[in-house]
Symmetry: none
Protein backbone atom coordinates (compact mmCIF):
# COMPACT_ATOMS: atom_id res chain seq x y z
CA UNK A 1 0.00 0.00 0.00
CA UNK A 2 1.70 3.11 -1.27
CA UNK A 3 0.95 6.78 -1.19
CA UNK A 4 1.17 8.44 -4.59
CA UNK A 5 2.69 11.90 -4.27
CA UNK A 6 2.08 14.05 -7.33
CA UNK A 7 4.01 17.26 -6.76
CA UNK A 8 6.33 19.12 -9.15
CA UNK A 9 8.30 21.05 -6.54
CA UNK A 10 11.00 18.52 -5.71
CA UNK A 11 11.78 20.17 -2.40
CA UNK A 12 8.19 19.83 -1.19
CA UNK A 13 7.85 16.38 -2.68
CA UNK A 14 10.95 15.16 -0.92
CA UNK A 15 9.86 16.73 2.30
CA UNK A 16 6.53 14.95 2.13
CA UNK A 17 8.04 11.63 1.11
CA UNK A 18 10.61 11.81 3.85
CA UNK A 19 8.03 12.51 6.48
CA UNK A 20 5.61 9.89 5.24
CA UNK A 21 8.44 7.42 5.03
CA UNK A 22 9.35 8.17 8.60
CA UNK A 23 5.73 7.72 9.62
CA UNK A 24 5.74 4.26 8.11
CA UNK A 25 4.18 4.85 4.70
CA UNK A 26 5.68 3.76 1.43
CA UNK A 27 5.67 6.59 -1.10
CA UNK A 28 5.73 6.89 -4.88
CA UNK A 29 6.74 10.40 -5.94
CA UNK A 30 5.80 11.68 -9.40
CA UNK A 31 6.87 15.11 -10.60
CA UNK A 32 4.50 15.96 -13.42
CA UNK A 33 0.95 15.49 -14.55
CA UNK A 34 1.57 13.67 -17.80
CA UNK A 35 3.74 11.08 -16.14
CA UNK A 36 1.19 10.66 -13.40
CA UNK A 37 -1.48 10.01 -15.96
CA UNK A 38 0.64 7.45 -17.73
CA UNK A 39 1.25 5.61 -14.51
CA UNK A 40 -2.44 5.64 -13.67
CA UNK A 41 -3.34 4.32 -17.11
CA UNK A 42 -0.64 1.77 -17.66
CA UNK A 43 0.66 0.55 -14.34
CA UNK A 44 -1.00 -1.61 -11.75
CA UNK A 45 -2.45 0.83 -9.27
CA UNK A 46 -4.11 -1.62 -6.96
CA UNK A 47 -1.55 -1.09 -4.24
CA UNK A 48 -1.96 2.67 -4.18
CA UNK A 49 -3.95 3.58 -1.12
CA UNK A 50 -4.13 7.33 -1.53
CA UNK A 51 -2.91 10.15 -3.76
CA UNK A 52 -1.63 13.51 -2.61
CA UNK A 53 -2.01 15.80 -5.58
CA UNK A 54 -0.70 19.30 -6.11
CA UNK A 55 -3.30 21.40 -7.88
CA UNK A 56 -0.79 23.34 -9.94
CA UNK A 57 1.20 20.92 -12.04
CA UNK A 58 3.15 21.22 -15.28
CA UNK A 59 1.73 19.19 -18.12
CA UNK A 60 -1.63 18.45 -16.68
CA UNK A 61 -3.15 20.07 -13.65
CA UNK A 62 -4.36 18.23 -10.61
CA UNK A 63 -8.02 18.48 -11.46
CA UNK A 64 -7.46 16.90 -14.85
CA UNK A 65 -6.03 13.84 -13.13
CA UNK A 66 -9.18 13.36 -11.13
CA UNK A 67 -10.81 11.22 -13.76
CA UNK A 68 -7.94 8.76 -13.83
CA UNK A 69 -7.67 8.65 -10.09
CA UNK A 70 -11.35 7.97 -9.70
CA UNK A 71 -11.28 5.25 -12.31
CA UNK A 72 -8.64 3.53 -10.23
CA UNK A 73 -10.64 4.21 -7.08
CA UNK A 74 -7.84 6.12 -5.47
CA UNK A 75 -8.96 8.67 -2.90
CA UNK A 76 -7.36 12.07 -3.29
CA UNK A 77 -6.14 14.80 -1.00
CA UNK A 78 -5.35 18.02 -2.86
CA UNK A 79 -2.47 20.24 -1.94
CA UNK A 80 -3.37 23.83 -2.70
CA UNK A 81 -0.77 26.56 -2.73
CA UNK A 82 -2.88 29.38 -1.43
CA UNK A 83 -5.96 29.73 0.65
CA UNK A 84 -7.90 29.74 -2.58
CA UNK A 85 -11.62 29.22 -2.17
CA UNK A 86 -12.15 28.46 -5.83
CA UNK A 87 -9.66 25.60 -5.82
CA UNK A 88 -11.03 24.13 -2.64
CA UNK A 89 -14.59 24.06 -3.84
CA UNK A 90 -13.54 22.91 -7.26
CA UNK A 91 -11.42 20.14 -5.78
CA UNK A 92 -14.02 18.84 -3.40
CA UNK A 93 -16.72 19.05 -6.03
CA UNK A 94 -14.52 17.07 -8.39
CA UNK A 95 -14.50 14.30 -5.83
CA UNK A 96 -11.48 14.89 -3.64
CA UNK A 97 -11.69 13.43 -0.18
CA UNK A 98 -9.98 16.38 1.40
CA UNK A 99 -7.57 19.22 0.72
CA UNK A 100 -4.80 20.85 2.62
CA UNK A 101 -3.24 24.26 2.23
CA UNK A 102 0.50 24.73 1.80
CA UNK A 103 2.47 25.31 3.88
CA UNK A 104 1.07 22.68 6.22
CA UNK A 105 2.04 20.93 9.41
CA UNK A 106 3.19 17.36 8.85
CA UNK A 107 1.03 16.30 11.75
CA UNK A 108 -2.05 17.75 10.14
CA UNK A 109 -1.33 15.99 6.88
CA UNK A 110 -0.92 12.70 8.70
CA UNK A 111 -4.17 13.16 10.57
CA UNK A 112 -6.09 13.97 7.42
CA UNK A 113 -4.54 11.05 5.59
CA UNK A 114 -5.41 8.75 8.41
CA UNK A 115 -8.99 9.95 8.36
CA UNK A 116 -9.35 9.51 4.63
CA UNK A 117 -7.79 6.06 4.71
CA UNK A 118 -10.09 5.06 7.52
CA UNK A 119 -13.15 6.43 5.77
CA UNK A 120 -12.39 4.66 2.52
CA UNK A 121 -11.70 1.39 4.25
CA UNK A 122 -8.02 1.40 3.43
CA UNK A 123 -6.92 2.11 6.94
CA UNK A 124 -3.96 0.31 8.30
CA UNK A 125 -4.99 -2.61 10.42
CA UNK A 126 -1.62 -3.19 11.95
CA UNK A 127 1.27 -1.06 12.95
CA UNK A 128 4.64 -2.63 13.68
CA UNK A 129 7.34 -0.99 15.72
CA UNK A 130 10.40 -3.15 16.27
CA UNK A 131 9.16 -6.30 17.97
CA UNK A 132 5.82 -4.74 18.90
CA UNK A 133 2.71 -5.23 16.81
CA UNK A 134 -0.41 -3.15 17.30
CA UNK A 135 -3.51 -4.76 15.86
CA UNK A 136 -6.07 -2.01 15.54
CA UNK A 137 -8.88 -4.34 14.59
CA UNK A 138 -8.28 -6.62 17.53
CA UNK A 139 -7.53 -3.68 19.77
CA UNK A 140 -4.52 -5.58 21.02
CA UNK A 141 -0.78 -5.17 21.35
CA UNK A 142 1.82 -7.89 21.35
CA UNK A 143 5.57 -7.99 21.78
CA UNK A 144 7.43 -10.87 20.15
CA UNK A 145 4.07 -12.48 19.60
CA UNK A 146 3.17 -12.33 23.28
CA UNK A 147 0.14 -10.28 24.19
CA UNK A 148 0.86 -7.24 26.32
CA UNK A 149 -1.84 -6.01 28.63
CA UNK A 150 -2.22 -2.28 28.20
CA UNK A 151 -4.64 -0.07 30.05
CA UNK A 152 -7.09 1.80 27.80
CA UNK A 153 -5.28 5.09 28.09
CA UNK A 154 -1.94 3.47 27.42
CA UNK A 155 -3.30 1.83 24.32
CA UNK A 156 -4.76 5.05 22.97
CA UNK A 157 -1.55 6.88 23.64
CA UNK A 158 0.52 4.22 21.92
CA UNK A 159 -1.72 4.17 18.89
CA UNK A 160 -1.59 7.94 18.57
CA UNK A 161 2.16 8.01 18.75
CA UNK A 162 2.53 5.02 16.47
CA UNK A 163 0.23 6.36 13.78
CA UNK A 164 2.49 9.36 13.44
CA UNK A 165 5.80 7.86 14.31
CA UNK A 166 8.83 10.10 14.22
CA UNK A 167 6.61 13.07 14.75
CA UNK A 168 7.01 15.03 17.95
CA UNK A 169 3.95 15.54 20.12
CA UNK A 170 3.74 18.16 22.82
CA UNK A 171 2.01 17.19 26.02
CA UNK A 172 -0.72 19.66 25.17
CA UNK A 173 -1.20 18.08 21.76
CA UNK A 174 -1.50 14.62 23.25
CA UNK A 175 -3.93 15.79 25.88
CA UNK A 176 -6.04 17.53 23.28
CA UNK A 177 -6.24 14.33 21.27
CA UNK A 178 -6.69 11.74 23.97
CA UNK A 179 -8.56 13.59 26.66
CA UNK A 180 -10.31 16.18 24.54
CA UNK A 181 -10.12 19.94 24.60
CA UNK A 182 -12.14 20.25 27.77
CA UNK A 183 -9.61 18.44 29.93
CA UNK A 184 -8.53 20.15 33.10
CA UNK A 185 -5.59 18.86 35.07
CA UNK A 186 -1.87 18.34 35.06
CA UNK A 187 -0.06 17.91 31.76
CA UNK A 188 2.33 15.76 33.74
CA UNK A 189 -0.27 13.01 33.68
CA UNK A 190 1.00 12.19 30.21
CA UNK A 191 4.41 11.39 31.68
CA UNK A 192 2.98 8.65 33.82
CA UNK A 193 1.38 6.90 30.89
CA UNK A 194 4.50 7.31 28.78
CA UNK A 195 6.41 5.74 31.65
CA UNK A 196 4.06 2.76 31.64
CA UNK A 197 4.46 2.25 27.91
CA UNK A 198 8.21 2.42 28.15
CA UNK A 199 8.20 -0.12 30.92
CA UNK A 200 5.69 -2.53 29.46
CA UNK A 201 7.06 -2.48 25.92
CA UNK A 202 10.70 -1.85 26.76
CA UNK A 203 10.47 1.35 24.76
CA UNK A 204 12.94 3.34 26.82
CA UNK A 205 14.82 4.38 23.70
CA UNK A 206 11.96 4.10 21.25
CA UNK A 207 9.84 6.77 22.89
CA UNK A 208 12.18 9.72 23.09
CA UNK A 209 11.72 12.61 25.45
CA UNK A 210 11.95 16.03 23.86
CA UNK A 211 12.97 18.22 26.70
CA UNK A 212 10.57 21.00 27.67
CA UNK A 213 8.19 19.86 24.97
CA UNK A 214 6.92 16.33 24.78
CA UNK A 215 7.60 12.96 23.23
CA UNK A 216 8.28 11.25 19.95
CA UNK A 217 8.05 7.60 18.99
CA UNK A 218 11.02 6.66 16.83
CA UNK A 219 11.68 3.66 14.67
Amino acid sequence: MKILVIEDDTAISELICMNLGAAGYETLPVYDGILAQEILEKEDCSDIALALVDVMLPGKDGFALMEDLQREQIPVIYLTAKDDVISKVHGLKAGAEDYIVKPFEVLELLVRMEKVLQRTGRGRERITIRDVVIDLKQHSVSKNGIKVNLKPMEYELLVTLAKSRNVAFSREELIKRLWGTDYVGETRTVDVHIGQLRKKLDFHEVIRTISKTGYRLES
Copy 2:
Protein backbone atom coordinates in the same frame (compact mmCIF):
# COMPACT_ATOMS: atom_id res chain seq x y z
CA MET B 1 -28.71 -18.89 1.25
CA LYS B 2 -29.50 -16.97 -1.87
CA ILE B 3 -27.73 -14.37 -3.92
CA LEU B 4 -29.87 -11.33 -4.64
CA VAL B 5 -29.19 -10.11 -8.18
CA ILE B 6 -30.46 -6.59 -8.76
CA GLU B 7 -29.92 -5.88 -12.45
CA ASP B 8 -32.30 -4.40 -15.00
CA ASP B 9 -30.67 -5.76 -18.12
CA THR B 10 -32.33 -9.16 -18.37
CA ALA B 11 -29.62 -10.54 -20.61
CA ILE B 12 -26.93 -9.78 -18.06
CA SER B 13 -29.10 -10.85 -15.16
CA GLU B 14 -29.81 -14.20 -16.75
CA LEU B 15 -26.18 -14.67 -17.59
CA ILE B 16 -25.23 -14.06 -13.98
CA CYS B 17 -27.97 -16.24 -12.57
CA MET B 18 -27.15 -19.08 -14.92
CA ASN B 19 -23.52 -19.00 -14.02
CA LEU B 20 -24.13 -18.69 -10.32
CA GLY B 21 -26.61 -21.52 -10.55
CA ALA B 22 -24.00 -23.67 -12.18
CA ALA B 23 -21.59 -22.81 -9.42
CA GLY B 24 -24.07 -24.00 -6.81
CA TYR B 25 -25.62 -20.76 -5.70
CA GLU B 26 -29.31 -20.14 -5.48
CA THR B 27 -30.23 -16.81 -7.07
CA LEU B 28 -33.04 -14.31 -6.68
CA PRO B 29 -33.14 -11.97 -9.68
CA VAL B 30 -34.84 -8.59 -9.36
CA TYR B 31 -35.16 -6.23 -12.30
CA ASP B 32 -35.74 -2.84 -10.81
CA GLY B 33 -34.88 -0.70 -7.81
CA ILE B 34 -38.35 -0.12 -6.42
CA LEU B 35 -39.15 -3.81 -6.39
CA ALA B 36 -35.80 -4.53 -4.77
CA GLN B 37 -36.59 -2.07 -2.04
CA GLU B 38 -39.99 -3.62 -1.44
CA ILE B 39 -38.45 -7.03 -1.08
CA LEU B 40 -35.85 -5.72 1.33
CA GLU B 41 -38.47 -4.02 3.43
CA LYS B 42 -41.26 -6.55 3.41
CA GLU B 43 -39.79 -9.98 2.84
CA ASP B 44 -37.66 -12.11 5.05
CA CYS B 45 -34.12 -11.39 3.98
CA SER B 46 -32.29 -13.56 6.42
CA ASP B 47 -31.49 -16.15 3.80
CA ILE B 48 -29.88 -13.64 1.46
CA ALA B 49 -26.15 -14.04 1.69
CA LEU B 50 -25.05 -11.34 -0.70
CA ALA B 51 -26.42 -8.80 -3.13
CA LEU B 52 -25.05 -8.03 -6.58
CA VAL B 53 -26.32 -4.58 -7.42
CA ASP B 54 -26.21 -2.70 -10.69
CA VAL B 55 -25.49 0.95 -10.03
CA MET B 56 -27.71 2.18 -12.85
CA LEU B 57 -31.22 0.98 -12.21
CA PRO B 58 -34.64 2.18 -13.27
CA GLY B 59 -36.80 3.38 -10.40
CA LYS B 60 -34.17 3.69 -7.74
CA ASP B 61 -30.44 3.59 -8.26
CA GLY B 62 -28.08 1.18 -6.59
CA PHE B 63 -26.77 3.63 -4.05
CA ALA B 64 -30.22 4.43 -2.78
CA LEU B 65 -30.65 0.77 -1.91
CA MET B 66 -27.58 0.80 0.26
CA GLU B 67 -29.43 1.84 3.34
CA ASP B 68 -31.89 -1.02 3.09
CA LEU B 69 -29.16 -3.50 2.34
CA GLN B 70 -27.12 -2.36 5.28
CA ARG B 71 -30.07 -2.54 7.60
CA GLU B 72 -30.52 -6.16 6.62
CA GLN B 73 -26.78 -6.60 6.96
CA ILE B 74 -26.43 -7.88 3.43
CA PRO B 75 -22.98 -7.35 1.96
CA VAL B 76 -22.97 -5.72 -1.44
CA ILE B 77 -20.93 -6.06 -4.60
CA TYR B 78 -21.66 -3.31 -7.08
CA LEU B 79 -21.71 -3.85 -10.80
CA THR B 80 -20.57 -0.73 -12.61
CA ALA B 81 -20.22 0.16 -16.27
CA LYS B 82 -16.70 0.74 -17.45
CA ASP B 83 -17.11 4.42 -18.30
CA ASP B 84 -18.88 5.27 -15.08
CA VAL B 85 -16.21 7.14 -13.14
CA ILE B 86 -17.90 8.65 -10.12
CA SER B 87 -19.69 5.49 -9.02
CA LYS B 88 -16.74 3.41 -8.02
CA VAL B 89 -15.37 5.59 -5.30
CA HIS B 90 -18.88 6.52 -4.29
CA GLY B 91 -19.92 2.90 -3.99
CA LEU B 92 -17.08 1.87 -1.75
CA LYS B 93 -17.51 4.96 0.33
CA ALA B 94 -21.16 4.09 0.80
CA GLY B 95 -20.13 0.81 2.34
CA ALA B 96 -20.03 -1.73 -0.45
CA GLU B 97 -17.79 -4.72 0.14
CA ASP B 98 -16.48 -4.71 -3.41
CA TYR B 99 -17.35 -3.73 -6.94
CA ILE B 100 -16.79 -5.24 -10.33
CA VAL B 101 -16.67 -3.60 -13.74
CA LYS B 102 -18.88 -4.78 -16.57
CA PRO B 103 -18.15 -6.67 -18.68
CA PHE B 104 -16.52 -9.05 -16.25
CA GLU B 105 -15.25 -12.58 -16.20
CA VAL B 106 -17.60 -14.94 -14.39
CA LEU B 107 -14.65 -16.48 -12.65
CA GLU B 108 -13.62 -13.14 -11.27
CA LEU B 109 -17.11 -12.53 -9.99
CA LEU B 110 -17.10 -15.90 -8.26
CA VAL B 111 -13.76 -15.23 -6.65
CA ARG B 112 -14.84 -11.86 -5.37
CA MET B 113 -18.12 -13.26 -4.10
CA GLU B 114 -16.32 -16.03 -2.29
CA LYS B 115 -14.03 -13.53 -0.66
CA VAL B 116 -16.88 -11.36 0.49
CA LEU B 117 -18.85 -14.33 1.79
CA GLN B 118 -15.81 -15.55 3.65
CA ARG B 119 -15.05 -12.15 5.06
CA THR B 120 -18.57 -11.63 6.30
CA GLY B 121 -18.89 -15.14 7.70
CA ARG B 122 -21.73 -16.10 5.41
CA GLY B 123 -21.77 -19.18 3.28
CA ARG B 124 -20.68 -21.09 6.29
CA GLU B 125 -23.40 -22.93 8.06
CA ARG B 126 -21.66 -23.55 11.33
CA ILE B 127 -19.29 -21.74 13.57
CA THR B 128 -17.38 -23.57 16.27
CA ILE B 129 -15.82 -21.95 19.28
CA ARG B 130 -14.22 -24.33 21.75
CA ASP B 131 -16.97 -26.72 22.80
CA VAL B 132 -19.72 -24.49 21.45
CA VAL B 133 -21.26 -24.99 18.03
CA ILE B 134 -23.46 -22.38 16.41
CA ASP B 135 -25.66 -23.78 13.69
CA LEU B 136 -26.66 -20.80 11.59
CA LYS B 137 -29.13 -22.78 9.52
CA GLN B 138 -30.93 -24.25 12.50
CA HIS B 139 -30.54 -21.02 14.40
CA SER B 140 -29.38 -23.03 17.38
CA VAL B 141 -26.44 -23.22 19.73
CA SER B 142 -25.10 -26.23 21.56
CA LYS B 143 -22.35 -26.84 24.06
CA ASN B 144 -20.78 -30.29 24.15
CA GLY B 145 -23.63 -31.44 21.96
CA ILE B 146 -26.25 -30.24 24.40
CA LYS B 147 -28.59 -27.53 23.20
CA VAL B 148 -28.29 -24.23 24.97
CA ASN B 149 -31.34 -22.04 25.18
CA LEU B 150 -30.40 -18.54 24.12
CA LYS B 151 -32.75 -15.61 23.95
CA PRO B 152 -32.98 -14.02 20.48
CA MET B 153 -30.86 -11.06 21.38
CA GLU B 154 -28.22 -13.25 22.98
CA TYR B 155 -28.09 -15.39 19.87
CA GLU B 156 -27.67 -12.41 17.57
CA LEU B 157 -24.96 -11.00 19.75
CA LEU B 158 -23.11 -14.29 19.85
CA VAL B 159 -23.31 -14.73 16.09
CA THR B 160 -22.05 -11.22 15.48
CA LEU B 161 -19.09 -11.72 17.76
CA ALA B 162 -18.41 -15.19 16.44
CA LYS B 163 -18.46 -14.19 12.80
CA SER B 164 -15.69 -11.75 13.49
CA ARG B 165 -13.84 -13.52 16.21
CA ASN B 166 -10.81 -11.80 17.62
CA VAL B 167 -12.14 -8.50 16.42
CA ALA B 168 -12.85 -5.89 19.05
CA PHE B 169 -16.34 -4.41 19.02
CA SER B 170 -17.25 -1.24 20.79
CA ARG B 171 -20.63 -1.15 22.48
CA GLU B 172 -21.71 1.44 19.93
CA GLU B 173 -20.66 -0.80 17.07
CA LEU B 174 -22.60 -3.73 18.47
CA ILE B 175 -25.67 -1.62 19.03
CA LYS B 176 -25.46 -0.28 15.50
CA ARG B 177 -25.30 -3.79 14.14
CA LEU B 178 -27.86 -5.51 16.31
CA TRP B 179 -30.34 -2.82 17.12
CA GLY B 180 -29.88 -0.50 14.15
CA THR B 181 -28.68 3.06 13.89
CA ASP B 182 -31.86 4.55 15.23
CA TYR B 183 -31.56 2.91 18.65
CA VAL B 184 -31.84 5.16 21.63
CA GLY B 185 -30.96 3.92 25.06
CA GLU B 186 -28.21 2.77 27.30
CA THR B 187 -25.09 1.22 25.79
CA ARG B 188 -24.87 -0.74 29.03
CA THR B 189 -27.67 -2.94 27.77
CA VAL B 190 -25.01 -4.77 25.81
CA ASP B 191 -23.30 -5.68 29.06
CA VAL B 192 -26.32 -7.56 30.31
CA HIS B 193 -26.48 -9.74 27.23
CA ILE B 194 -22.76 -10.32 27.32
CA GLY B 195 -23.20 -11.39 30.92
CA GLN B 196 -25.86 -13.89 29.92
CA LEU B 197 -23.69 -15.35 27.17
CA ARG B 198 -20.76 -15.71 29.51
CA LYS B 199 -22.91 -17.45 32.07
CA LYS B 200 -24.80 -19.73 29.71
CA LEU B 201 -21.80 -20.76 27.63
CA ASP B 202 -19.15 -20.50 30.32
CA PHE B 203 -17.42 -17.92 28.16
CA HIS B 204 -15.99 -15.90 31.01
CA GLU B 205 -12.56 -15.98 29.45
CA VAL B 206 -13.61 -16.40 25.84
CA ILE B 207 -15.46 -13.12 25.65
CA ARG B 208 -12.91 -10.62 26.79
CA THR B 209 -13.77 -7.22 28.12
CA ILE B 210 -11.89 -4.33 26.62
CA SER B 211 -12.11 -1.75 29.29
CA LYS B 212 -13.71 1.55 28.34
CA THR B 213 -14.43 0.17 24.90
CA GLY B 214 -16.32 -3.04 24.42
CA TYR B 215 -15.81 -6.76 23.95
CA ARG B 216 -13.95 -9.29 21.86
CA LEU B 217 -14.58 -12.99 21.34
CA GLU B 218 -11.31 -14.86 21.35
CA SER B 219 -10.52 -18.34 20.19
